[in-house]
């Protein structure tokens, strides 16, 4: 079956595209990629496009958003019972921008609750199955979005990436997943996790489709003051020979042999294409996960303080006092991983521990950024595996949080440094499970990064 692309939707009416997407979603329901469908609103939007009232670069193209994006037509649950009845009063800026160009949201994808996780097993609505091997996890936290694209429900889906939540499930399901430079896309209207590394991006079957979607999503937003002045314009073609560094620190014993082999193959193809390829060292890489699990929980504990059972979201039926309303609503509405992270955050921000943990981690982050900056003086693009393994089995990593966290060892450093990165499909393991290669560039070098990834795509 040929892969679903934006171009392949252009030949049909918006209504036909929407009906086809809804039918496909029903056909593959067993994978549980989606939490809700939004057929009524999708058909309304399709009528506007087909009548010519709404048009644009994505006219009539159906898409899916991760269910932490505020969007009309269904509740925004963040896959937690805390928000099971939360009807968004507004839409995320990037959803508004996509709709303004004629794209049509048909449903909301499953995720780890509040985007905390690496397998989509932490969803209050049950896990998502891997698109290639349904006995394996989808990856996460944007697992549903990755699977929706891999199964051909829609040609593109939105995800959020705080430490690898787009790149890792892209790798596990054999699709393209892009995390742009921090600040290229607006975070407004997306359930906040860790504000200093949350980035909105997308999944597609081709790099070209990601470039188009991102061009529509990107740009400064006065409602998100961390957005950068507009800069992203996809490059027409990859410009000549680039200097490529393969991160040796991620190519050792800790990485599965079959994964390493596919990354080597990719690096060889880069060399054959005329690029200069060399091994590079990033000594701070091995500390990035430790930094991440201090800084991110600290931001989580702060961002998730808003869920108090008062203004919106779940309110317990069992409280006798205001304090109990807070405590019990939060205990009922959060998943275990949410609680772990909130409490770790409270710990590292506590007086007496702040310097030893939080401050220390932010200093280490500065050292990591310095190492990346030094590498980007000599190299244009860095290459590594996206994940040390292919997709794992259900329950395999749930007993030990550290084991689950290690799945993100190669993606979190990029997030802490705010760099753009893409995971592209790069063959499979001997068991047929997809492997992804991560390409990383300097901040705001998204266009060149994606042009390189596009030039390396194997067309089948």
């Amino acid at each position: 079956m040929s892969k679903l692309t934006i171009a392949s939707c252009r030949a049909s009416t918006a209504r036909d595209n929407v009906e086809r997407a809804l039918a496909r979603a029903a056909e593959v329901e067993d994978y549980h990629a989606l939490i809700t469908l939004t057929p009524d609103r999708a058909r309304e939007r399709a009528a506007l496009v087909d009548s010519g009232e709404v048009g644009g670069r994505l006219a009539g193209v159906p898409f899916i958003v991760k269910d932490n994006y505020l969007a009309f037509g269904a509740p925004t649950t963040a896959a937690a019972t805390m928000l099971e009845n939360f009807d968004a009063p507004l839409q995320a800026t990037v959803v508004e921008r996509l709709e303004a160009e004629g794209a049509i949201c048909i449903g909301k994808a499953n995720l780890d609750a509040f985007a905390h996780g690496s397998s989509t097993e932490n969803s209050a609505y049950g896990p998502t199955k891997n698109a290639v091997d349904p006995t394996k996890v989808a990856g996460g936290s944007s697992g549903g979005s990755a699977v929706a694209v891999a199964l051909g429900i829609v040609p593109f889906a939105l995800g959020s990436d705080t430490g690898g939540s787009i790149r890792q499930p892209a790798s596990f399901n054999g699709v393209v997943g892009v995390k742009p430079t921090y600040g290229m896309t607006s975070r407004y209207g997306v359930v906040a996790m860790a504000s200093s590394t949350d980035v909105m991006g997308c999944f597609t079957n081709t790099v070209e489709d990601s470039e188009l979607v991102l061009q529509v999503m990107a740009g400064q937003d006065r409602r998100d003051m961390t957005t950068l002045p507009d800069y992203f314009v996809p490059a027409a073609s990859s410009e000549g020979a680039l200097r490529i560094g393969v991160i040796d620190d991620f190519m050792g014993e800790g990485t599965d042999e079959t994964v390493r082999r596919q990354v080597h193959n990719y690096a060889e193809r880069l060399a054959e294409a005329g690029h200069t390829v060399a091994g590079v060292s990033l000594p701070m890489a091995k500390y990035s996960l430790a930094m991440y699990y201090i800084i991110v929980p600290a931001e989580i504990t702060s961002n998730l303080a808003r869920y108090d059972g008062i203004r919106y979201g779940r309110r317990t039926a069992l409280a006798a006092s205001l304090t109990e309303v807070y405590g019990k609503s939060r205990d009922e509405g959060f998943m275990p991983e949410n609680k772990r992270r909130i409490m770790i955050g409270s710990y590292v921000l506590s007086s007496g521990y702040f310097d030893a943990y939080y401050q220390k981690a932010q200093k280490a982050r500065a050292l990591l950024m310095r190492e990346f900056d030094e590498l980007f003086e000599q190299y244009d693009v860095l290459v590594s595996p996206t994940v040390p393994t292919a997709a794992f089995g259900f329950g395999e990593n749930t007993a030990d949080p550290i084991k689950m966290y290690l799945s993100d060892a190669m993606t979190v450093g990029v997030s802490l440094a705010g760099l753009p990165a893409v995971s592209v499909p790069a063959g499979a393991t001997s068991d047929g499970l997809p492997v992804g290669v991560q390409l990383i560039a300097q901040r705001q070098d998204d266009a060149r990064l994606l042009a390189l990834a596009r030039s390396m795509e194997v067309t089948t």
């Binding site: 507004l90 961390t226 699990y293 059972g309 309303v325 807070y326 609680k339 943990y357 200093k363 050292l367």
Partner: protein
């Protein structure tokens, strides 16, 4: 390695406004201890004199004009999100 006691867990839960069920406490205690043991590997790093990197964009003081703007969301829409409302207000349990 940092030892986390049951009392530490209860204190963190209080700081986090989480009223944990009894059967959640032991598991969280062990998990938190394990996560702290992992992140403490940063102690190996010499960070003397390093400026912390709290952000990555370099943007500072992003200002907007001091103009009153109509909210895109109506008051009633926001009130309707609250679990309980009365007389145009969000209703809560007695505070005092």
């Amino acid at each position: 390695m940092t030892n986390i006691s049951r009392d530490d867990v209860l204190k963190l839960a209080r700081l986090s406004s989480l009223e944990l069920a009894e059967d959640e406490i032991d598991g969280l205690r062990a998990d938190i201890e394990r996560i702290l043991a992992y992140v403490e590997q940063l102690d190996e790093l010499d960070t003397e004199g390093v400026e912390p990197a709290y952000q990555v964009t370099g943007l500072t003081n992003v200002m907007r004009d001091d103009k009153v703007e109509e909210s895109p969301v109506a008051r009633q829409t926001l009130l309707a999100l609250a679990p309980e409302q009365q007389d145009n207000h969000i209703k809560v349990k007695k505070v005092l």
